[in-house]
Each structure stands twice: as structure tokens, then as C-alpha cells.
Symmetry: C2
Subunit: 420 residues, 2 copies
């Protein structure tokens, strides 16, 4: 059996590689037609998919999966329709492949052109979220990449059904069905081999818990795009408009506390806090947010738990906020650069010099002035689609749209040039 499984791992990778070479030269029309076929097939296969999902759900309940994870795993007609609609939207986006990004002439007469090309084979590693199966496969197809999916064991039946649907659809088009592969062997040791298929997979994109992402980073020899962790802050400057500051903090904390671009700590200028702190804390408590208060203000708020060093480093992903007081802008910047995860950081201020200093010195993918951190998102940026939010600095940083799934190549025209 082990031998068969090993064969699955490698054979599917090879098959994806071959398909990727074919896919890389297909026209936008061919790729968009494939996406349309997938959307239609999702409607056709709705009952088959829901039935497969029911098996996963039953097993998950037996394994005591938490209600929130069970909800993420669950597919119903409405969710499948939403998936199909997203695929149709994706088909309508412009195709970045083949775009000329730059071109120039050299003194020796060579003409250099830099164009956008697919990456090749993308390895997606994710948890029990079946929507990622369709999302990732379709984003990869749109950009001329083959995809090798490694989902969670707890969603295996659903993923098998979804990938069968994709393959049924592709068989009606010119895109080879081998362009989408699902690793059905979900053992951890096989995953560790998957992460080291250099030469067969060009990049790994892990999506899910911080634990999953760190495992991939530690184990992989293939390049990884790190996504995810968000210990984000709003800094309320001395000059901040109190109504705006409170509104933004509430939005950034409570509009959807479980996501990476929600904030975990509000950093407040002590002068501002002396005047408006009571009403900020009141507003947070009224909104059901538990406040962990800076030790220096603990006397003033004896009813609140005191924040510790650990709070500054914690991504609560819940209706909890840490409140940090600072005397200077520099102190706020230092706190963010020390504890932040370089995701999204906002300054609320009416002082242009402070905003400029914050924009210059804070090291994060996305910095805001007088706006909520919740806008760090491919759709909110206007990218039309998102494969994840990169928290690393190489290749892609911040929300990743279709361009993040592309590479470049140089095409050089000569008339006999040799190097002297």
C-alpha cells in the first residue's frame, strides 16, 4: 500500500507538471471557457457534492469537531451556488498572462522585453475548507498554472467530489484535466514528502491556522508564500478625532474578530486617553469587547484585567482587545515593530508629520491613515480575486491577486549579437 501511495504522490506531480506546460500556452478564451464549464458543472453536480460532504460531516461530528470548524466544512446548495458565482466572476477578470511589463533597447541593439508568465505548478496546503478547493483550482487555471491540492483528511470526501466535478468540466474543454490534482493520501508523512517535491512543484501556498503555516515553513524545501498571522494595531495619536478614532477601533475589532486583518491591540497616546479614554473603553465594553488595560492605567480601571507582556504578542481572534498607552509616537512605532506581525497597522491622526513618520517607520504590508485595518483584502483593494494575504516580503506582500500567481520571463531579440 505504501508503494501505491508513494506512486500517487509522484505520479500526480509529474502529471501536473506536464499539464502545466500545455496550460501555459493556452489562450485567455480557452481558460475562461474552462472556468465557465466548472461553474456549470458545480450546479449540475450539486447533490453529489452535498452527499459527499455529508459523509465528511458525519465523521467530523464523531471526531468531536468544534461547531465553528463544522460550519466551515459544511456545504449546502447556497454555498455551492456562491462558489459557482465566484468562478463566473473570476472568468470575467482580465488575464495577466502575456502582459508586457517593461521593454528597452541596449546599446548593442538587443531589444529586451519582460513579460508575465505562469509560475508552473502551485501546491496548495489547506484545512477543512472545501471552498479553497474550488477557489485555488480556478485561480490557478485562470493564470495558466496547474495546481496540486493537499487538503485536510476531514474534508477528503468533499474534496474528491469537487475535484471530480472540475475534471468532468475540463473534459468538455481544451484544458487537460490533469491540470488539477488532489493528493488523496492525507497522512502527515506523505505531506512532508509533498513539501519537498522540488522541481515538480514550484511554490507552496499554505492557507489555514498559524500551526499549519509554520509546519509547512519548517518542513518545506520548495519556496513557500507565508500567509496569515495578523497581530494588527490601531494607534490613536494625540491629535486624533475622538469620534473617528472610536468608530475605527470598534470596526477594526468587532466587525469580524476572527479574521487576520482585525486588530488585537489599540495603542493610545496618553494625552488623548486622559481626555477620551473613558468613552473609548465604554464604547468597547458596550460592544461586548473585553479590554485588557495597560498596567499604567490599571488603577483607573480596577474592574478590567491588566494586560501583560503576553497580551501584546497575542492574536486573540476574538472579542478581546489589549489597550496600550504611550507617551510618544516613537513608542507606538517601536511597540508595533516589536510585537506586530507586519500585516496591517493604522494611525488615527490629524497631524501630517506624525502620519508621515508612521508610514515611513512601521514595517508592515499595509499601513492606514484614518481608516480601519479591515480593508486589507484582495476584493477591497480592487484585485477582483484573492489567493491569500502574504505576510512575508518576497514575491508578494499583502493581499495577493492574480498577479501573485505569475512569474516573468525575458524575451530578447537580436540580429547575431555575441558577447565580446
Amino acid at each position: 500500500m505504501a508503494l501505491v501511495k508513494k506512486n500517487e504522490l509522484i505520479e500526480k506531480a509529474k502529471s501536473a507538471r506536464t499539464a502545466s506546460q500545455f496550460l501555459s500556452v493556452q489562450s485567455s478564451a480557452e481558460k475562461d471557457q474552462a472556468l465557465h464549464a466548472i461553474a456549470v458543472q458545480l450546479h449540475t453536480d450539486r447533490n453529489i457534492i452535498i452527499e459527499a460532504n455529508r459523509l465528511d460531516q458525519e465523521r467530523a461530528k464523531q471526531n468531536q469537531m468544534t461547531p465553528s470548524l463544522l460550519d466551515r466544512l459544511m456545504l449546502n446548495e447556497a454555498r455551492i451556488d456562491a462558489m459557482a458565482a465566484a468562478v463566473e466572476t473570476l472568468a470575467k477578470l482580465p488575464d495577466p498572462i502575456g502582459d508586457t511589463l517593461d521593454q528597452w533597447d541596449r546599446p548593442n541593439g538587443l531589444h529586451i522585453q519582460k513579460i508575465r508568465v505562469p509560475i508552473g505548478v502551485i501546491g496548495m496546503v489547506y484545512e477543512a475548507r472545501p471552498n479553497v478547493t474550488i477557489d485555488a483550482a480556478c485561480l490557478c487555471l485562470k493564470t495558466g498554472n496547474a495546481v496540486y491540492l493537499r487538503g485536510s483528511a476531514s474534508a477528503l470526501e468533499t474534496n474528491k467530489a469537487l475535484v471530480s466535478t472540475i475534471k468532468r468540466a475540463l473534459r468538455q474543454t481544451n484544458i487537460p484535466e490533469e491540470a488539477v490534482q488532489l493528493l488523496e493520501d492525507t497522512r502527515h508523512e506523505t505531506a512532508n514528502q509533498f513539501f519537498r517535491l522540488n522541481g515538480m512543484i514550484d511554490v507552496l501556498i499554505p492557507r489555514g491556522s498559524s500551526r499549519l503555516i509554520q509546519t509547512v515553513i519548517k518542513q518545506a524545501s520548495i519556496p513557500v508564500i507565508e500567509t496569515g498571522a495578523g497581530n494588527c494595531h490601531v494607534y490613536i495619536d494625540e491629535s486624533a478625532n475622538p469620534e473617528m478614532a472610536t468608530r475605527i477601533v470598534l470596526n477594526a475589532k468587532t466587525q469580524r474578530p476572527s479574521v487576520c486583518n482585525a486588530i488585537e491591540t489599540v495603542i493610545v497616546s496618553r494625552k488623548w486617553f486622559d481626555q477620551f479614554g473613558d468613552s473609548l473603553i465604554d464604547a468597547l465594553l458596550t460592544a461586548g469587547v473585553s479590554c485588557h488595560i495597560d498596567p499604567s492605567a490599571a488603577d483607573k480601571f480596577p474592574q478590567l484585567p491588566t494586560a501583560s507582556e503576553e497580551d501584546w504578542a497575542t492574536e486573540y481572534l476574538d472579542k478581546i482587545i489589549a489597550v496600550k498607552l504611550v507617551d510618544t509616537l516613537q513608542e507606538a512605532i517601536d511597540h508595533i515593530n516589536r510585537y506586530g506581525t507586519k500585516h496591517s497597522e493604522s494611525i488615527i491622526s490629524e497631524d501630517p508629520a506624525h502620519v508621515a513618520a508612521f508610514f515611513k517607520a512601521v514595517d508592515a504590508s499595509t499601513l492606514y491613515h484614518n481608516a480601519s485595518t479591515r480593508f486589507t483584502d484582495g476584493e477591497q483593494f480592487g484585485f477582483g480575486a484573492e489567493i491569500g494575504i502574504s505576510t512575508q516580503k518576497l514575491h508578494a506582500r499583502g493581499p495577493m491577486g492574480l498577479n501573485a500567481l505569475t512569474s516573468i520571463k525575458y524575451l530578447i531579440e537580436g540580429n547575431g549579437q555575441i558577447r565580446e
Copy 2:
């Protein structure tokens, strides 16, 4: 001792990180002044550096280092002057940091700006080439990055002297000397820890042998930019001008056989070969190149060794060439995509349709029409400086200039926007 060494590894990384935050906000003028100071100090310290290099050379001779490696290790007055001149040239290049790469408005009034920023801390891993010490440190300083150098044990004295020179120079400027760190503990187990300093080093750039690069890729958990290996081809199409084809093949093979953008195999259309093959082989043999001939032409060239499967995959880095015959363009493309290392590939042809098909289907960083592959180089591209040639598809592909040492951040201006 192990404890002390461990402290060196971590303390220098932390110190580089702190310096990188300071360095990231320095002006172009401050950084260029530091580069100028380094160039001047290299002249001042010439004798100290040569003396240190003499110690490394003596040890290397005792260890039976090969003459070509000894030559790479050796520093003399001329070579130090060349280093200093390169640093002055670098200082004069435009600074990419702070450039606005894109900006747009969203319907909700948010204004998004995408700007270029330093990466942070760059980890350079390299062999006994002391010029890399100065090159890498200065390219990193120019782009606002701190650098953590891990050179070879056999160049340790030279590297210590060069880094002391850099630090002496930086002390006269506003750039902190901690921005350039040299790991003096050159044990392999320490290198393996170095490769896994996530959060302290942002990217590793290995430069040197394929063995070194593969070790870093296998061991590292930090993102790596893969450089180096080049199994490159010239394809002579049926329609190729025979004089041009021969001239380009000779240049690509013999102008400098030991470098990655030299070719290893010439792929020839059988029709062209029937007419011009004899004179191509003659020209190569006359230039001192040993030809390993396609088995299908072995009868015609009984004096030549026959090429085997292994030849197609070999990067000779020497005056040896494999000659592969094909019946069709597609066969040539398939051969390159199978055996090539995605570095540089050239087609010699007078047929625009064949050129277009080659440009579309061959997967490599740089494709040429009627030119030698030897132009894949930062200087030849007009980048002014080069940190290496990337053979991977993420972040940077092909020759890497200053831009390859940068990341981006988004700056977003609002007036109270929250997400509904």
C-alpha cells in the same frame, strides 16, 4: 565555547535586525555617502586586507585547494582597487527605495499607494570569493537592507578584514556599523542554524556551487532565492543563417565556458545539420571544444564520442558540448523543457513563426532570438549591478539588480472609512 558561538549567531542577527530598522529610513544621500566611505577605506586598508588574505592563501595551499579556487580567493592591489571602483559605481546608481510603483482610488474614497521598501535583513551564503563580501554588503546597504554574511572558512581572515574595513568606514557615517555582520563561526552545524533564523533573517541568497545552493535549499526554513545552475542550449532552426548560427554557438560555448550562461548542448535541425553540420563541428573542434555527438549521427562522425542520456543533463562548465539532432521545432522545445535548468535558451532562425512558438513554449528566465546566451547578466541587461541570477520563478527571475533586494508596502489614506 558552543554557548559563546550560539550567542554570536543570535546576537549578530538581532543586531542586524535593529540596524535594518534604522537603515530602512535613511536617505539615499546617507547611504551613498556610506558607500563612498567604504570605497575610500578599502584603499586605506589595502595592506591590512592583503596581509589577511595571505594567511587564508597559505592555509588553502596547505589544504591542497585547486589553482582555480586559489585564484578566486586571492586579493591583490588591483583586485581591491576594482572592488572599490565597483562600490563607487554602485553609489552613483539611482536608489529604488521609496519609488511609487502604482497608486489608485477605491470607490469608498480610500487612496492606495504601492511603494518600494527594503526587505530587511539579507543572509548571504557563499564560498571562498572575497569580492562577494564587498559586493553583497554594498548592494544591501544601497537598498536599505542589513546583511548577515556567512562566507567560507577558507576565506575567514580575508572576510574579517573586509568587514572590519566596512565597519571602520561606517563609523564615519550615519549608517550603523551593525548593518553589516559576519558570522565568524563557520562550522556546518552553525550554518544549519543560520538557515533557520526565521524572523531574524528575511531571505537567504546562496552564491556558489550547485552543491552549496542545494544544501541551503534543503536545510533552510527562511525563504531562499535560488541562483546558479545553467544547462543552457542554442537551437539552430532549419532556417538559421549558417554563419550567424556558428558564430553564436562558438561564443556561447567558448567565450567563458565556466559560467552559468554558457551553453552545454547545441540542438540542431537535422535538415540544417545535413547541409552545415560538418562545418559547425569543424569550427567547434578548431576552437578546442570536444563534441559529444547525437547517436543518430555517430556513424558520420566516428572520431567523436557519442552523447548519452547523461550528456543531455550535464552542465559541463568546460570546453565540451553535446550535439543533439531533432526533426522538428517541437522536439527541440521538449528537449529543452525536459533537460534545461530554466536559465537561458536561444533560437537561431529566420522563421518568425518558429521564433514565436519557441518564445511561447520554452520555460526559462531568458529566451534569445539570434543572439548568444552570454548576455544573461545584470550589467548586460543595463541593471548597473547584479546580486546573482535567479533560476527560480518567485520574487525574482533572471539577472537580479537592485530591485530584487526590495519589497513593497501599501500606504492607504482615508478619512474615517470603516468596513460595512
